[in-house]
Structures are given as structure tokens and as C-alpha cells.
Symmetry: C2
Subunit: 533 residues, 2 copies
Amino acid sequence: MHLPPKALRWLADRIGPLGGDTPIAPDSLLAVPDSRLPDDARRALEAVVGVERVLTGRGDRLGRAGGLSYLDLLRRRNYGEIDVPDAVVLPADPEQVQLLLDACAAHDVGVVPFGGGTSVVGGVNALRGTKESVVALDLLRLDALVSVDPVSRLAVLQAGVRGPEAERLLAAHGLTLGHVPQSFERATIGGFAATRSAGQASSGYGRFDDMVAGVRMATPAGEWRLGVAPASAAGPDLRQLAIGSEGALGVITEVTLRVRPQPIEQRFEGFVLDGWERGAGAVRELAQSGLLADVTRLSDVDESEVSLSLNAGWKTAALRRYLSARGIGQPCLLVLGWHGATERRIALRRKETVRVLKAHGAVAVRPIGESWRKGRFHGPRQRDALLGLGVCVETLETAAHWSGIHRLRDAVRAALTTSLAANGHSPVVMCHISHAYETGASLYFTVLAARDDADPIGQWQRAKDAACEAISGVGTERGPFGTISHHHAVGVDHAPYLAAEVGELGVGVLAAVKRRVDPGGILNPGKLVKDGE
Amino acid sequence: MHLPPKALRWLADRIGPLGGDTPIAPDSLLAVPDSRLPDDARRALEAVVGVERVLTGRGDRLGRAGGLSYLDLLRRRNYGEIDVPDAVVLPADPEQVQLLLDACAAHDVGVVPFGGGTSVVGGVNALRGTKESVVALDLLRLDALVSVDPVSRLAVLQAGVRGPEAERLLAAHGLTLGHVPQSFERATIGGFAATRSAGQASSGYGRFDDMVAGVRMATPAGEWRLGVAPASAAGPDLRQLAIGSEGALGVITEVTLRVRPQPIEQRFEGFVLDGWERGAGAVRELAQSGLLADVTRLSDVDESEVSLSLNAGWKTAALRRYLSARGIGQPCLLVLGWHGATERRIALRRKETVRVLKAHGAVAVRPIGESWRKGRFHGPRQRDALLGLGVCVETLETAAHWSGIHRLRDAVRAALTTSLAANGHSPVVMCHISHAYETGASLYFTVLAARDDADPIGQWQRAKDAACEAISGVGTERGPFGTISHHHAVGVDHAPYLAAEVGELGVGVLAAVKRRVDPGGILNPGKLVKDGE
């Protein structure tokens, strides 16, 4: 992805001189230790999937070594060490997954379930924990639509199906899942479930956890199937232990998902509101009135400023004058997207929504919506490009109840700005609401700073720690201002902050569940719950 | 409650000669064993709440002995033994609840958390399990609205607040919870959460588990607080272990609830559809189109027949002719109720709904809705009256995905009918859908049979077992047709069927969680998970 010179000049003005160019290192230059998988373990795995489905080549192992966090990306540029699995195993179906877990348990081999490899929290890093060896269990061959129940609007998809393929398979039945996170192009059904993913259209289609009607999960203690009804009072909802289990409590092999008819019509629009508080107030009213569009995304002043400054397609100066004449001095962009069976249905919903927005002083700027839609999956590639040019670029997200979101935003912005200020420059810290609920909203931050080439990893780790402390209140007397993750999971990066949110008792309960389903502690070492907790 | 002679004649015609009159026995005639609470335990409890808040009188203990299942009601008529707690303890606040659990753990005393006492699954029966003594922990003094956050639309209510009081407290802030199960008048906030309750307006306001944003729970392993954001990906949603924990994993002391503005307007209407399949198809389309009224309740032909036969207020014969002339030979009554801020908003929603219903051949009979609304909390009293007249009368409920609801209904009806057929008469088995979802619906059965006075308890236990086996597939090769409970919890009665739904591994996980939070196994012995599982 090409970044225009104008954008780079703007950026250097804002954040100071960028770090050096840093291309992705070729695999051959990365340090990859030899496989430590013992021969007997290897033979046991081969007995399940066949010799050709247990891969120990350098490239195969590097291909399943970690995810897509900024630190992961730095490691691919030869900053820091990559945790590389000792082998990659490719099961064909849920039965083979179960047999592989049995074999790994018997040989005390760690197992990292691997889907799209898009974790931004270290969720698929090949940590060993207490194990001598660890394998990546790549679910790519579990790529089938198992069944469709059009009457109940349910579909069973295997865990390895990626976002676009899920939509293609369902489209043949006139159905859609409607789950489109930014990782859509690579991430998998199993990964969405294991991380409690949310997508760009979650305001309309619900979070992924809302879509999961049932799960099939392999565990070292045997296979576990959950979900027989649309709702149940048969004790605690144990599906909610599988959803968000992050590969640490089992390997999700199939997911039964609520699906919907493919929308015939789509409509994206943009509005501009005057200032963050006003914008958030409008989104809150929409959420609390049941009037949210399927896609609802409000940028704060800083993010809007970046959009307006960098988007070459808009006549920015003219737009600013237009907005200013309508009383908007602090533009906050709001993208709305509706899906619907007919234009009439969309128009009905839109009319009520626009009525609320007008009352909050919103000005319609239609192209903002379409422009956002076209670039909706570009984020990861833009980040790659910026990173290659010497920018420290990362995102993080949280959520809070409405009465606390301004406090939360202020605290995270202050933490990031203070931590990343250097040489008289401050970082760009942008924020948007991408998911709104009756009781609160998510906050998604994007940070751009000049990379400190002397210690790029430490630079970001300190900033991330500062942000996490601001969110969770770790190291303070107060409780958390928000959740440590609204839709990216715990992984390695957020594990130190989990107890602040769910209590030491909560962490202890997760550990107790893990001991029951994974007595040998082979599943995804170091993620979600650590050994010995 | 008075039952008209016409209704009784109709009933005797249908189900055969009723059993004998059976009034509720005065407390003095019921067998109440002496309290077995050891003196040192008693002193420890008194040290927390004061001498006058530890009750060991016969009437006080009987008042917290069991719930409102048919078997509970029979026991109050001196059929079978009542499990009576050894004492009743009345804490004033969450801190005292925690101290009481500590004291009970120290003295190895079982604890049955007690709210409204409306369990229909044995959930508050004072079983001892392995304990020498057991106390009822009555939460009636935890009756406060702790705080209101109008911006986030959240309210914190203590666990002992009953339905009407919750609404009264919230109404002072212009808010409502909108949770109105049939137990509304007696049941408590803590009980709703502990049992994953659903109410008559759950189609609009959501199930109680949808409303719970946070919980505060006392456990023998310490206090546990959960819920900091509207949604989270910080691992599994542990709130979902507290919701539905049935007093076996902790004592819920406070619940943070999503609230809504009080509706200004309400509108109830009735429609009639031709036959069950057609009616269910219409409700399914409404649910899958986002057009459900806040209250949506479809009766099958049998239940509609009873309504039409017994409701003295309607000109039944004329109504039948009217319906017949409109092509409805098998009337199924559909009650719809809308709540809204304005008549206009209700009218907008109603218009779309009626359009769908007309396409399914529905005929509007408006008084059906209002008539249902007036009698909406009468069920328990009607049941009491029938029971006193010698009728075996009970309800049970389940849920399934849409493609399976007819199979599920047929199976449960067949099981109940076969089990309760006697002397050439069949029972009346009625069914309605009270909760509809995109992917499925609940089925709520009401059974009327002539009571077998020789063995009334065995008569119903066999029928209930037959129904549970039909639902869960226990004793067969097939899996469950539906959930063992959609909104009444597990308690004692459904415990044998839980493994069929969540797996032996699921039961094992619950037991592992219980051991972590309640190592001494003092909490609600015999409910949800049994000792030693």
C-alpha cells in the first residue's frame, strides 16, 4: 500500500522525524531454532494425520509463529525473538483434532490452536510454558459448511473457515453471517469464537458471541458439545466459557451460528457532529432508542482531523468551510451503514435515525460513508506501510458504560500521550466508537508516534502498559475504568490485567476450569490463564 | 380464587372424576422436625446479624421450606415430607451475607439462599446433602435500590428486592426493568438472576440474563464482583457463571441491571390463527424480521380451546362462528403487547407486525389481549384453586430451535398424555410459545389431570420424568430435542437431565467451579451440581 508524500509530510510535522526504513525481513534472515519435537511424539501425531500433515520445515513453522500485533510485526523486522512452534499439524476434521489432543497430552506436548493468525494480543504466539515442545494446530483444513437449517436460521461451520469463505458458502443459501471485523479477510470462525470477536456491523448483526448458538470443542478431557436451544435456564450458560476460551480451554472445531438472509440493499452515509461529547451523546441516544444503524462508527476530533487531512479524494478546505458555516468547529465524523431486504425498510430505519441526528446538530456529508466502506479492510495494510517507514503504529481498544466513557478516553489518551512524547513531539492518539450498546460503548484507539529505533519494543511496551494501567486501574486504589479488551481477547498481552477485571477469584475459577478440561496444561501455554494460577 | 361451576363441569368431562377436596394444611398439622443447628454455629450466626435475626421458630422455618412446584404444594397438603431448614437467618447487607457464609463454612452448615420462594424445580428446598444442619439465608432485608446511572441506563438493586418493589423504586426515576414473569409479585432480583428467569415481556425487554450488566456475589472463597463494561472480550464471560448459579456457586447480593424509560403507552391485542403450525410460522416470521411485540404469546389449539371454553366474559359460540366464517377452524390465540414512549411509536411497530400476521391469515380479536393482560398473574392462584379441588395441575417448559419445535411439542405431549391417561380419560395438555427468538422458541406446557389420590406424588413424578426424558433424550440413543429448562432453572428436579444437555464434561466443569468457590460444599446442597460430581 502506497502512502502519499503529502500524508507523510503531515505525519512528520505532527509526530517528529520518523524512524528508519524497516522492511520485512526475509524468512532466511530470521532466527528459527531447530524443531524440538521428540520423535515419538512426532510419530504419534503422524499416526493421526499422516506423515505429510506434520510439518517441521522452517517456512511452515515461521508461518504459524505469532500474530499481527505491533510487536509481532517488529519481530518480523528482526527486532526481538520470534517464538516458533516445533511443528505444524494439519488435522482434517474434528475427530482428528480430538485424537491429536490425546496424542499431545500423552506426550506432554504444548498445543497452540492456529486459525487466521491475526491475533493482536499474542494469542497465537508459540509459547512453551512448562513444555519441552509445542506444536501449532492449524485448522485450515476444517473448512466446511457442515449444515444449514434455514428454518431456524442456523448454520454449522467448521472452525477453519475464513471470513470471506464463510460468506461465500452461506451466500449459496441466500444467507449471511454479517461478521466483518478488520481481520475479516484472514481470520477464522474458530478464532472469532475463541476471542469474542466483534465486527464493523456488530451494531446490527450483534457481536460474534451473540451469533454463537452452539460449539463443538475438543479438549484433553474429551469432546464437549454445547447449545441445544435458543436460550436456556439449565444452569450457567457454559457456551460462554467456550466463547472467549482462546485455545486455552479447548480447540473449537465447529460453531453453530445464527445467520440471516443476505441483505439485498446497503446504504452508507456520513454525518459530522460538533465535538466528541455531542457526537457520543447522539450515538448514545441512537443506541438507547433502538435506532442504531448496522454499522455505526464515530471518530473523535483527532481521528476526524486525520481523515480530513489525509483523504486526498475530498476537497478538505471547502468541506471545513461548509461545516464551519453550519456551526461545526470541531468536526467528528460519523459513519452509518444500513443493510436491508428492501430500500423501503432501510429508508424507514434511516428516517428515524436522521431525525435524532438532526436534533444533535449533525450535518450530512454523504461521501464520508462510502469512502469509509471502500477502505474498511485497509487498516492492517496501512499499518504495515507506516511501520516500514519508521512509524510506531498500533491500535488498542476497550469499552465502558456511557457515564464513564469520557473519563476512560481521557485516561487512555493521557497515558499514551505521556508515554510516547519525545523530542518535543507528541504522538497522534485517535479514538473512535465502533460498537454502541444501550449501556455503553467501545473505544478504539489508534496511535502514531515516531519510532524510537534504539528500543522500539520497549517504547511500545511502556506505552501499552501505561494504557492498560489507565484502563484497569492496576497499581491504583480505584477499580477499572473499562474492560481490558472489548473484542481482541486476553492472550499474553492482557493477562496481567485480567484479575483487575474479574477478580483473583475469577482468574482462579478459570484456572479451575482449565485443570478440569486440560489437566496436563497442554493447551495454548501462557495465554488467558498462566500455569500455576 | 373462585372457579365457576361451568368450568369444573367442563374439566370433569375432559379429564374424568377429580380427586378429593384437599385444602392446604394448617402449619400446626405439618411435620416439622426440631432444629438441629448446633449452638456454636447458632452463636456464630448471631454474632453477625444479631440474636433476633436468627429464627428457629416452627412457623419461620416452615415459611422458608421449599417453593411452589406441584410437589411442594402437595406437601403443604400433607402429601410427603417437607424439608425444613434448621434456622432462618436474615442478613442486612452484602457484607453480612459474606460474614454469614464464612461462619457457615467454619461450622460446616449448609446454606440455602432464599428469595421469593417461588422456585418450581425444588431450587430452595432445604436439603442437607452431607451436612448435619442447613439454614435458609433469607435476603428480604437486602431491599434497596443502591444506585441509578441514568446516563448508562443502569441501576444497582439488592438481591432481595421483589418484582413490584423494583418497579416502584425505579419508577421514582422514570425507569423500568420490564421483567414480569408470572412469579413477579413474590420473586426477587437475586432469584431472577440465579435462575436465568424470563418474563412475559422478554420479547421486548430481553430475558433477565440479557439485563444483567454486573453481579456482586458472596462465596465461601470471598466476594466476587463482575461486570465493568457493556461487552467484553476479556476471556470467557464469567458473569454467565453467576447468572444461573442457583445459589450453588454463591449468594448474589447485588445486581447491576440495564433499565429503560418507563413506557408511557401500552397496547394489548389479540389475534387468532388457524392451527398451531400456521401460528408458529407467523411468530417465527415476526421474530426473524425483528417485529416481535414486547409481549408475544401464542397458544396451541388445546390451550385456546380451554381459554375459549372457560372465559365467561366472551360470547364463545358467536366468536367461533365469526372465526369459522373467516376460515379458522382450529383457533390458536395470539396475544401481543406493545410498550412505548408514544402511541405513534407503538403504531409504527404495530403496523409492520399486523402486515405479517394478515399474510398468515390472522384475524384480529382485540379483547383477547386485554383479557390476558388482566389475568396475567393469576396462574399460580388458579393452580392453587384447582389443586384444592382434586386436580393434578402443573406446568413445565422447554425451548428448541424452530426446526425442532413441532417434534419437541409432539414428544412432550405424547409423554404427558401417555403417562397421565387413566380410567379411559386423557389429561388436558396445553402448550404455548411465550418467548420467541430468531433461532427458536420456548414451549410452555400446562397439564390438567384427575389426581390419583392413592399416589398423587408418584403420579406426577412419573409424568414429569416422562416429559423430561422426551425433552432430553435420557435413556435413548438420540440427543436432546430441547433444553431441560428455558426459564425455570435446574434445581433438584432437572438435575438428572443436565448432563444430557451440557455433557458429563459440562457437569464436571460446574463441579470444578463449585469446588473453587465453595470448597466445603455448603451452598444449596443437592441443587444444580450434586456432591461428589
